[in-house]
Structures are given as structure tokens and as C-alpha cells.
């Protein structure tokens, strides 16, 4: 065999004392499609470079050719662990922009759906943190309650993951009795399960050792990095869009905003856990308020806005006016007012904002999504630098990065 002499190694690769390690694009530790190019010295992380964009689908460009109601399915695919919040956030943006008033009952129904979505989002995140620290049981145990939440979505809108739930102006149909029965079952059983789930982790020696003091950030740095949501609250800033700029009648509810102190993985876990209890309490209050509606008020599930709300199918076949509106909405023949709006909701992992610019056409002139995890993922290097590689994995999952939201 001929001796090979022409091997050229990259400059400096012999002298280099650190190892380059690729985590991702697809790797069990990333829980999504994104890459981390880590420079490690033994088990210590020296630096990392995050690469995102593997599932970029050009939503902002797509939205420029779609009438408002066709953009809702796009928002499903942002944070797909809590699609209903994205859908509602988009509807609320449109309603604010078009200056539509909604009946209280619709607001409360939305609150129920949004808080269920928040629970399912936090549930995934917290149980995945458990999986990454070596405790698989919690994850499997709570999955059946996420399943129950998905069954409620299914009752309301017909789908489970990418929900496309609700319409501009309300819901596509009223909640069925089955939906309420399932909601009652959830409210009855879930708090105990959550308590058990919490007991499994919160004072667990191994879990605490793995998460305390890792991936921490100060409130000041977190704000500078644009953190929002549970990750910012874990660092000690009590900013919650539901409280600061209430939407969908959140001002009618009584709830606490849990905060942490150190912003580390353990605090993030505890904040999310505490938020789930608050969400349960909000759902209970909302359900109670809904039961107080009597007579025809108890049948209201959408606002009276024929320009934007699709009429019932049987009306389309029998009534001229409904047919006209149906045609105009489906063909996208309704011009929007000129102007711009920024509107935000509290998504599963932070402030989900929609910046809509309209030039008076039928589609948005420009639509920008403020995706919370795209913004706070920048801080990942600062969070894990100097720490152990295995802590970086826990930090990654405790930040609750959702690839769909990162890449839009």
C-alpha cells in the first residue's frame, strides 16, 4: 500500500487542547431540530455556537399573501406545544386591529383553552427536564393528562396538535357538553397528579443537585437578553403580559405570578410548576363565570361580526346574506384598514407578539412574529459556559426551546 503523505489537517488542530462536539441538528438531547457546536475541555463547556433555521418555513413571507383567517393555521406551527395560545394571540391581534368587541363568554372560553394550553406546554417542559436528569416516570405519568387536554381541544375544534382553534370573533362552534365533562374530569383529577409529579422532583436530592445552580442568569442580564415568560420570572422579574396588558378579560381573574430568585434550572422548574397551579385556578374561575350565563347568553360563542366571522354552513345554503359573506370571506375580498399594531399575549414560554402592518390591502403588508424562544436562545452560551456538558443538556430542555417557534 502506498504511503499517503498529502493529508492536510486544519491549521491548529494538532495543538488544540479542546474538543469540538456537535450536538444536533437531530439529537435526543436537543428535543428539536437545532444544532450546537460546542467546544469542550474534558467535560467542561468552553464555548458554544448555536445554529438555528433547520425548519424555517418562511411564515412571514407566506402571511403576506394570505387573508387574516388563513394565517391562523400558520401560527399553529410556531410553538406547537401550545398552539391554541398562538391561535388566540393572532385572533386577538386581528380583533384589536379591526376594533371588534367580543362578548364576555367568548373571552372566558378562550381563557379556559389558553390556560389548558399553558398547562400542556409547561407539563412537557418540566417532565422533559425530568427525563434529562434521569427520571422517566414523571414524563410518562403526566402524558395521560396532556392527552385529556388534547381530547378537550378535539371536542372544541376537531384537532389535537395543530389546532386552528377559534375564529376571528369567537369560536367556530359552541363547547359541547362532552367538552365540559372532560374539563370537569381534568379539574378534578389533575391537581392531585400535579402534586404527585411535584413530589417526585421538587425535593428529590438527585434532581436538586442536577438543577440547582446550573444555567442561572441574573435578572439584569435576563432583561438585557430579552427574556420573557417563565424564564424571566425565574430570574425574579414579575413581568406577565396577562397582568401588564390584559387581553381576553384576564383582568377579571384572580391569580398570582410566581417568581424565582436565581434564574437557574431549578427555579425555572418551580416557576413553571407553580404556574400550572395558577392556571388550574384560572380555569376554575372561568368555568364558574361561564356557568353563571343563563338563557340566550349561555349560547353565545362568537361576536356579531359578519365581515370576518364565517356564517354557519346551513345559513349559507338558505340565506342570501350569509352566502354573500361566506363568499367574500373565503375569496379574501375584504379590505383591511390601513395602519399598524403590535399586540402580545403570554405564550407558553414568553411574550408572543404580532407586529402587523397593513397598507389597506386584503392581506397583511408585513407580519412579524415576536417569538420568545428565538430571542432568549441567544443567552444559551452565557448560561452554560464553564459548566458541565451534562448540565448544558438540562439547561437546553429547561429553557423550553421549541424548534418551530425558533425558526418561524
Amino acid at each position: 500500500m502506498e504511503h499517503q503523505t498529502n493529508i492536510t489537517l486544519p491549521k491548529g488542530s494538532i495543538e488544540k487542547t479542546t474538543t469540538t462536539l456537535n450536538i444536533g441538528p437531530t439529537h435526543p438531547a436537543t428535543h428539536g431540530v437545532f444544532q450546537n457546536i460546542m467546544e469542550v475541555d474534558g467535560e467542561r463547556v468552553v464555548s458554544t455556537e448555536q445554529t438555528v433555521g433547520y425548519i424555517h418555513r418562511a411564515f412571514e413571507k407566506l402571511a403576506e399573501r394570505r387573508p387574516l383567517y388563513q394565517i391562523t393555521p400558520i401560527t399553529d406551527r410556531l410553538n406547537y406545544c401550545s398552539s391554541p395560545i398562538n391561535n388566540m394571540g393572532w385572533h386577538i391581534t386581528c380583533e384589536r386591529f379591526l376594533k371588534l368587541d367580543l362578548p364576555k363568554r367568548v373571552d372566558y372560553l378562550r381563557v379556559i383553552i389558553m390556560e389548558l394550553a399553558r398547562i400542556s406546554d409547561h407539563l412537557i417542559c418540566n417532565s422533559i427536564v425530568g427525563v434529562d436528569t434521569g427520571a422517566y416516570t414523571g414524563f410518562l405519568y403526566v402524558m395521560q393528562y396532556r392527552e385529556l387536554i388534547y381530547e378537550i381541544y378535539e371536542e372544541v375544534c376537531g384537532s389535537r396538535l395543530t389546532t386552528n382553534i377559534g375564529r376571528i370573533g369567537g369560536f367556530e362552534r359552541n363547547f359541547t357538553n362532552t367538552a365540559f365533562t372532560k374539563l370537569e374530569k381534568f379539574l378534578d383529577e389533575y391537581p392531585k397528579v400535579l402534586k404527585e409529579f411535584e413530589n417526585l422532583f421538587a425535593r428529590n436530592r438527585i434532581f436538586m443537585e442536577r438543577t440547582k445552580g446550573t444555567g442561572g442568569i441574573s435578572a439584569e442580564r435576563a432583561l438585557n437578553y430579552g427574556f420573557t415568560g417563565p424564564n424571566l420570572r425565574a430570574a425574579g422579574v414579575d413581568y406577565d403580559v396577562r397582568l401588564q396588558q390584559p387581553y381576553s378579560s384576564y383582568q377579571d381573574f384572580d391569580f398570582k405570578v410566581p417568581v424565582g430568585t436565581t434564574g437557574d434550572n431549578y427555579d425555572r422548574f418551580l416557576v413553571r410548576n407553580a404556574e400550572m397551579y395558577e392556571s388550574i385556578s384560572i380555569i376554575k374561575q372561568a368555568y364558574q363565570k361561564i356557568q353563571e350565563f343563563k338563557g340566550t347568553d349561555a349560547e353565545v360563542y362568537h361576536a356579531d361580526v359578519p365581515e370576518y366571522y364565517l356564517p354557519k354552513k346551513e345559513d349559507v345554503y338558505t340565506k342570501m346574506e350569509a352566502l354573500i359573506w361566506h363568499f367574500k370571506i373565503i375569496m379574501g375580498e375584504i379590505d383591511l384598514p390601513k395602519g399598524q399594531i403590535y399586540s402580545a399575549v403570554e405564550g407558553g414560554n414568553g411574550e408572543l407578539g404580532f407586529y402587523l402592518v397593513s397598507d389597506g390591502g386584503r392581506t397583511p403588508f408585513r407580519l412579524h412574529f415576536r417569538r420568545p424562544c428565538f430571542i432568549y436562545y441567544q443567552a444559551f452560551e452565557e448560561l452554560i459556559k464553564g459548566g458541565m456538558l451534562s448540565d448544558a443538556v438540562v439547561t437546553l430542555s429547561s429553557l423550553n426551546l421549541i424548534a418551530g417557534e425558533l425558526d418561524a
Binding site: V52, G53, H56, A58, E60, K61, L62, E64, R65, R96, F97, R221, L223, N224, Y225, G226, V237, Y239, Q244, Q245, G339, Q340, I341, Y342, S343, A344, E351, G353, Y355, V357, F365, R366, H368, R370, F374, I375, Y376, Y377, Q378, A379, D407, A408
Partner: protein
Amino acid sequence: MVLSNEIIQNNLIEKFGDQVLNFSTASGILSFESSKEINLKILQYLYEEPSLGFTFLTDLCGVNYPDNIGAELVVVYHLHNFSENIRLRYSVTTSIDETAVFTASKLFESANWMERETYDFFGVNFIGHPNLKRILNVDEMDYFPLRKEYPLEDQTRIDKDDEMFGRG
């Protein structure tokens, strides 16, 4: 002290005179513009002046108006004052041929990726940015896809011979 849109507007006019312009309020958020040369001065003043305190950069994005000759690209900053709970929208315009705008990433760490995204999609060249390269699109891409000169595919086109899409 209660901060309101009028107080912010008066404060800015007092400080910057006629360099800040086009004040308007839409959906409760005060918006204003300035020339792109002083964007850092304004952002820093909004950040450091204790009576304003806009220390949180919520969002940064670009918009393309192809018909505004000489000011085709707009960079929009959404700022937030948490303690007073008030938002502010500030924008600078730049021509599409000379897209240099000073980076805000020294002031806000969060601007880093948002500026990379704006560069990626609109080609705004942020001067002083530590790592200005594409973020969501591939590095080899040689155009800026969210500019209006690149329309989405026309749904009625007939030149495509692709049976997979039922157009064959």
C-alpha cells in the same frame, strides 16, 4: 411618576428638537422616527434617561416599502418600560442601496439575533455588529427574501411541469 405618551413625546422633542419626527399614536403605542444616523443616540437616551427608562427591547424587525424611493427599508424597534408598563415604537429608514444602520447590540444583547434576522431577510447592514451573518436561511443564499421584489410563487402559473403538484 406616571409616564404617558405626551410626556415621552415632549421629552424627546426637548432633547432632540426637529431630529425626531412623525409622532403618531396607533393602538395606544407612540411611534416616531428619526434619521438613521442618530439611532444609537436616541436608543441610548431612551435607555439611560431615568425618567424614560426604556430598558427592554421587545422586538426589532424590518419592513420594505418599495415605493418610498430613497427610504425603502425601515428598521422598527419596539421598546418597553416595565416599571411604567408603557411601550414605544421607534423606526429609522434607510435606502435599499446604502443599507448601513448602527447596531443596537451593544446596548441590548437581545438585538444580536434580531439584527441578524433583519439582515438575513432584508439585507440591512448593521454597522458594528459582532457577528452579522445569516441566521435562518442558508449562508449561500444571495438575495434577501422578505424584500417585496421577490414575490411568492404565482398560484396560477402554468410553466411548471410537475405532476407531483397536479399541474402537469
